[in-house]
Each structure stands twice: as C-alpha cells, then as structure tokens.
C-alpha cells in the first residue's frame, strides 16, 4: 500500500505542475483555503480567460475524446490535474455544471452540427451552461416538475418556473426538463430541451440565501418559444435524458476543499480557557475532536480508495456514496461546536479568531445538507443501490400526472 503516483501519473503531474507554474500563481501557505467567490462580475471574466487557456493547453476536459477538445485521458489524470490546480490562485467553479452535466447530455442526444456549434465554446469558457431541473414543487422528487412545453407548429412553447438554478444569471445556455404530456404518469410525460438563456420570455431572479450569498436563481418562463431541433431525446423520454445528465455528475471523488477543519478546532480549543483550564484538556471537548478527526480521516482515506480504483483503471466501488452523508452534518455540527467554545462572542462576526470561518460552516452546513441530494435522499440511495433494499411505495407511480392530488 502506498499513496504514490504510478510513473505515468507522476510524469503527468510534473507536466501539469510545470504548465501551471508558467501560467498561474501558486498559493502561499495562508492562501490554502482560498476559494474564489463567484458573485464578482470581474471574476467571471477572469474565469473565462483561465478556462480558455486551459482548453487551449488540453487540460479543460481530460477525459473527453480528442475530437471534442479533450485528450482521451483516464479519470485519474483528471483528478491529478484538479489536485494540482487547487494549489494555484485561479478562479474555478463556473463551468463544472456545463461541462460535467449539460454538454455530456448534449453529446448523448444532440446532432453532429449542434455539437460542432456548442461544445467548443463551452469548453473554452466562451459560453456558460446551466441545468434547469428543480422546481418549487419538485426537489428531491424531480420527476414531479410542472413546467410545461407545448407543441406549436414546428416548435415548442415553454411556460413555468425553475428554481435553484446555479449561475443562471450569467449563463448563456441551459438544458431544461419539461412536462409535455400531463395525461400520463409523471416519469412518462417529460421531455428534455436545450435553449438560449437570452430567448425572449425568460426572466432570471437571484435567490438570496441564509448565508448571504446569491449564486442560485429562480428562472421564470413565459411563452418561451424554441424550435423542435432543440429537443434532446424523444418526446416523453425526458426522464431517461435526465438520468444521463445526473449520471454525468462530476466524479464523486472531490471533497469540498478549503474551509476550517479539525486542526483549527484544536487550535481554538488550545486557546480557549474553560473553568478548569484550556478547553483542549476537557474530556467532552476531546471526545468531539476525536470523533471529527476520525470522520475527517475516514473521508480522505475513502477518497483514496476510490482514486486507487481509478488509478488501476477499475470502476470504483460504492464507498464514495458516504462522503456527503458524513461531510455535510460534520460541517454544520463542528461549526456550531466551535462557536459554542467561543462563548457569547461566538455570535460576533469580527474580533474573534476563526469566528467567521466556523460561522460560515455552521450556516453553510445547513445548505450543504440539502444541495445535490439531501441527507435523507442520499441514505435512500445507499440503502437501495448499495444494500439492495426495495424502493419505498410510490403511490403516484401509475397515476396520470394531471389526476394526482
């Protein structure tokens, strides 16, 4: 057992590092937890420039075939690139949904002409894509969407509302799942399209979150007309297309990087005086630190197991399905515990070392437990796909959508 690269991986890592050194600035030690905020308009411009550079050098999508601008590399090379890139001060995060989910769906369903038109600008960051799935009444049960697409001559007219659309305010294109036939059960009446976010009738409104950020949006569709050539897959087979999108989610090997962790909690516990001495000597505090350390290590090492499979060219086991189930509540609980250690000053946003960081975890954890699959849905997935337990009874399964209560 070892954590070393194979010779091929090591050579690739050297190549990547040399290229990054020549084209970007390496983070200093106190910038390790730097994460670019993507609500700054200048940042998008910088991100697009960085993406273009990356794409020109062949690093933008390493696993994609060469004809689409990739290099036909294995997933482990993609991971190595990302590991190295995270050590540099570069703006990231704008293109993950587009390149990780939308364009792969296009590759599965769009025409060769369309791919010729859309793939390269997306890869080079010239056009940004979003994914229009969730709705106010369809979150975990996304097949319950109500946004309608109705035939109109040789095109379609879309009416309805999407929600939680990341980056819709700066995106150029999106893929959208719509209901085209409400008279059949919910999974059967769906159809997928792509569209320009500049199409008349689309209105984007940012959602301000509890954390203060506003990266998500509501998107309203009022008589939005699109041609039938924008349809992805057959009419009524939108669920199948949506599964293609969801299967293409980024390699589930990344952990949220940066942010405070057990080291900072221990530092805080050393510096905090309780009634009987430093908090780090208190058994309750020690017990919590130990639990979170075991989780932190467990997640890192579980990811190493997944990377091992990728490195050997094997399909990873289901072990990475535990990562968000553990990481999200840990983030929330550890943030809250650190605030408690600070005493009444734990509520202050200034003057207290690490307060803002742990507060960000405490409040951000509440969102992280929901985004991209709730704690509960993820447990269902483990139970069904890993342990082979049956799905819950679905009372709406065979009921036409428009007959549902």
């Amino acid at each position: 057992m070892d954590f070393n690269d194979t010779p091929e991986e090591a050579a690739f890592r050297r190549e990547v590092r040399a290229w990054l050194d020549a084209n970007a600035t390496r983070k200093s030690d106190d910038q390790k937890s730097f994460r670019a905020r993507n609500d700054d308009p200048n940042l998008l411009k910088k991100a697009k420039e960085w993406q273009a550079k990356k794409a020109a050098a062949g690093y933008a999508r390493i696993t994609w075939p060469k004809e689409y601008g990739g290099r036909g590399g294995s997933p482990i090379l993609q991971v190595i690139y990302q590991q190295e890139e995270s050590n540099y001060l570069v703006p990231l995060g704008f293109f993950d949904i587009g390149l990780g989910m939308c364009i792969p769906t296009m590759m599965a369903y769009a025409s060769p002409e369309q791919l010729k038109r859309y793939v390269k600008p997306a890869l080079y960051g010239e056009e940004v894509w979003c994914q229009l799935f969730s709705e106010p009444a369809a979150g975990s049960d996304v097949a319950g969407i109500r946004t309608r697409a109705e035939r109109d001559g040789d095109g379609w007219v879309i009416n309805g509302q999407k929600v939680w659309t990341s980056g819709a305010h700066y995106c150029d294109y999106g893929i959208i799942i719509t209901r085209t036939d409400p008279s059949v059960p919910k999974h059967q009446g769906l159809t997928m399209f792509f569209l320009s976010m500049k199409t008349p009738g689309i209105e984007v409104r940012p959602i301000k979150q509890i954390s203060g950020g506003a990266n998500f949006n509501e998107v309203f569709f009022t008589d939005v007309r699109i041609p039938d050539s924008h349809r992805l897959g057959k009419v009524g087979e939108g669920w199948k297309a949506a599964l293609t999108t969801l299967m293409n989610e980024r390699l589930a090997v990344g952990l949220p990087s940066g942010g405070l962790d057990v080291d900072e909690l221990m530092e805080l516990a050393r510096d905090t005086e309780l009634e009987d001495g430093p908090a780090i000597r208190n058994q309750q505090v020690r017990s919590r630190i130990a639990d979170w350390y075991v989780q932190q290590q467990g997640l890192k090492l579980t990811r190493f197991r997944t990377l091992t499979a990728l490195s050997k060219g094997q399909t990873p086991g289901p072990e990475s399905s535990i990562i968000k189930i553990v990481a999200a509540p840990k983030m929330q609980d550890m943030g809250a515990f650190a605030m408690e250690l600070m005493g009444p000053a734990g509520i202050m946003k200034e003057d207290v070392p690490h307060a803002a960081g742990f507060q960000a975890q405490w409040v951000g954890g509440a969102g992280f437990r929901i985004a991209g699959g709730t704690d509960e849905i993820l447990r269902n997935i483990v139970a069904e796909r890993v342990l082979g337990l049956p799905q819950d009874v679905r009372v709406d399964k065979d009921v036409p959508f428009n007959k549902m209560k």
Binding site: V294, Q295, Q297, K312, R379, A383, G388
Partner: protein, 366 residues
C-alpha cells in the same frame, strides 16, 4: 495511488472466508456459546492448517513471514464469522507481544509453537473492577516470581503461556509449569471463554525491560487495535447484512420492512460507519506494515471507528429483527456479544479518544 490490498492478499482473504463459511457457520458459534468447550477445536485446527497463526511470524521462527497486511485480511474474516477461536488472544496479542518485546530465546522457544498451533498464548492485564492503569495494578514481579490475580483473561484456562502485566513490567509465564490457579469466569460472550488466573509465587520471566512494561503494552495495543479493527469491520459487515436480509424478507403493514425509510436509513448509517471504519483500518494496516510514524494516530482512529461501526451494526441488527432478534435462538446475539467484548478488551472508545487527541497534540507540536 495504491490504497488497497494486493490480489494475493485478496485471494488469501477469500480462502479464509470460504473455509469459515463452510466450517464455522453460526451454529458452531452457538455450540461453543452454549457448551463447555474452550473453543471450536476443529475450526482452530483447520485455521492452523491454513497457516493462520503462522501468518505474521517471521520465517526464522517457523512462521510464514508474511506482512501485517496478510494478517489484517485474515482478521476481517475471523471477525465476520465471529469465530470462536483463540485468534485475538494467541494470534494477535501473545504473538505480537513476543515479536515486540521477546528476547531471542523467548522468540525461539514460543513463536514456532504458536505458528504450528502447538501453543496458545494469551495476554493478562485486567485485575477485575478497575480499568488497568499503573496505579490500579497490584500484580508484582520480582526475583523470577509473580504474585497477583488477573481477570478476565481470554482463553486463560487453556492457554499454554500468558504474558502478564505486572506493576511495571510485562512477564511471561508458562502456565503448564508455574504455580497458577485457573478458574473459568462467566462473561457476556461465552463463545469466547475467559478465566481468572491467580499467580502464587509463580515462576516467570521478564518480557522486555523491567520498567518497559507500560510502553510495550501501548505499542502492543496499537498493533492489536489495527488487527482488531479489521475483525470489527468484518463483524460489522456481517451484522449489517444479517439485518439487510431480514429486512428484505420480513413483511409488516403489507410490505417488506426494508422498504420503510426508518429501516433503510438505519442500515445506510451502518454502511456509512462501516466504510469510515474500513478506510481508517486500511490506513492503520498501511502504517503497521511500513512501521510508519503515523501508526499511533492511525491505530487510534481505526480503533474508534471500528468499535463504533461494530457496536452500532450489532445493536441495530437486533432492532431490525424486532422481537425474534431478542431470543436466544436468533443468531443476532453473537455479534452483539462479540462487538461489546471487542469494544472493551484493549480499552473502550473513551480511553482511545483521549489517546487519539494526546497523539494529535504531540503530532501537531512536532
């Protein structure tokens, strides 16, 4: 990145697994639990034939000379079967104690016998009510004589020799020759028999230096924590799948109980804890096999995660079974008992969490 066992190691694991599935089904565990025999002799003999006790003993001492990684995969299978054999006592604790602290003569004398299954060793630390600590241990050693009382000692009434913690030293006692009174004691897990040993001027010899005992014991426990973590992972996985199988088959309110989220989420939590434990155990194995500086931290993390995973799976297995799971005739009890035995034998989670944070502080200060 190569954070996995090799194909050969996986093959060995599969071999032990098949043997135990065949020769050590739950009815054998039940037989030992209900009966008087010290352990399942035929299972132990088979494991000896497979070379299990010889696995990590160097070839120079009659062993197979394999690495700790091989013993880790074997431990996982012993744990999965909740096998009623002297693995924890003899193959792990006594063997590792000799490897760590034994003199050349002691190793020459005992390791070949252990490898061949001709001797069974055990470790005797606890002295009844108090958790063993330097100030609570009253067993004394001096002038080649040992005096004191140790209980509970795994396989104490049938072991050939014991490694005993006195006030400040580990000592080795040949139980067939020395003045020792042995008495079996009742415990929560009768599938692993335990005894009380009373030493009355028993002839004994130092294992390691005179004031080295506690330091040696700590190192021994670190190695054992890793091996036991694998056994606990195996047991946790077995308990989880026992619960899963029952949840698929048992009907309530017109459908399998495994379709209810209350059950699904409980079993998903078993899986989450199991994988956290497995990953931490792998790292412990890696540090153990390369003598890595991070062993102290890795062993503690593996111990904590694996203890929690097995304890949780064992008790939720019973909960998933409902009433039938609480009967003597159900197989659920074996893992409940073994999980608790293994959670306590080399110190419980509270002690290991304290140790872990101490070690993290040392690591951060370095």
């Amino acid at each position: 990145m190569n954070f996995d066992f090799s194909d050969d190691q996986k093959l060995l694991k599969e071999q032990v697994r098949k043997f135990l599935a065949d020769k050590c089904p739950m009815k054998v565990v039940r037989r030992v639990l209900d009966g008087n025999e010290a352990f399942a002799d035929e299972v132990w003999k088979g494991l000896v034939e497979l070379g299990v006790p010889a696995t990590a003993i160097p070839e120079a001492y009659g062993g197979l000379g394999l690495s700790p990684l091989e013993l880790c995969v074997v431990a996982e299978e012993i744990g999965r079967a909740a096998a009623p054999v002297p693995f924890d006592s003899s193959v792990v604790l006594a063997t590792e104690a000799l490897k760590l602290g034994g003199s050349e003569a002691q190793k020459k004398r005992w390791l070949p016998l252990l490898a061949e299954g001709k001797a069974i060793g055990t470790l005797a630390v606890a002295e009844g009510a108090q958790p063993p600590r330097p100030r609570t241990i009253s067993t004394t050693y001096g002038g080649g004589r040992l005096n004191g009382r140790k209980v509970p000692v795994a396989d104490g009434d049938v072991a050939t020799f014991a490694i005993v913690m006195s006030k400040n030293a580990l000592v080795l006692v040949d139980l067939n020759r020395a003045a020792v009174t042995k008495k079996r004691v009742e415990t929560i897990d009768p599938a692993r028999k335990h005894a009380e040993l009373v030493f009355n001027d028993a002839s004994a010899e130092l294992l390691g230096g005179e004031n080295e005992g506690w330091r040696l014991l700590e190192r021994l426990y670190d190695a054992a924590a890793v091996y036991f973590a694998f056994a606990q992972v195996g047991g946790a996985e077995a308990a989880m799948y026992m619960a899963r199988d029952y949840a698929l088959q048992r009907q309530a309110f017109g459908r399998p109980i495994g379709s209810y989220q209350a059950i699904k989420h409980k079993l998903a939590d078993c899986y989450v804890k199991l994988e956290l434990a497995r990953s931490n155990a792998y790292y412990g194995a890696m540090m153990l096999s390369e003598g890595g500086a991070d062993l102290a931290v890795a062993a503690a993390a593996a111990r904590i995660a694996a203890t929690e995973a097995y304890d949780f799976a064992a008790k939720e297995n019973i909960q998933t079974h409902g009433g039938i799971g609480f009967t003597w005739e159900a197989d659920t009890q074996f893992h409940l008992r073994r999980a608790k035995l293994m959670a306590l034998n080399i110190g419980g989670p509270m002690a290991w969490k304290d140790k872990l944070v101490n070690r993290l502080e040392q690591k951060n200060a370095a």
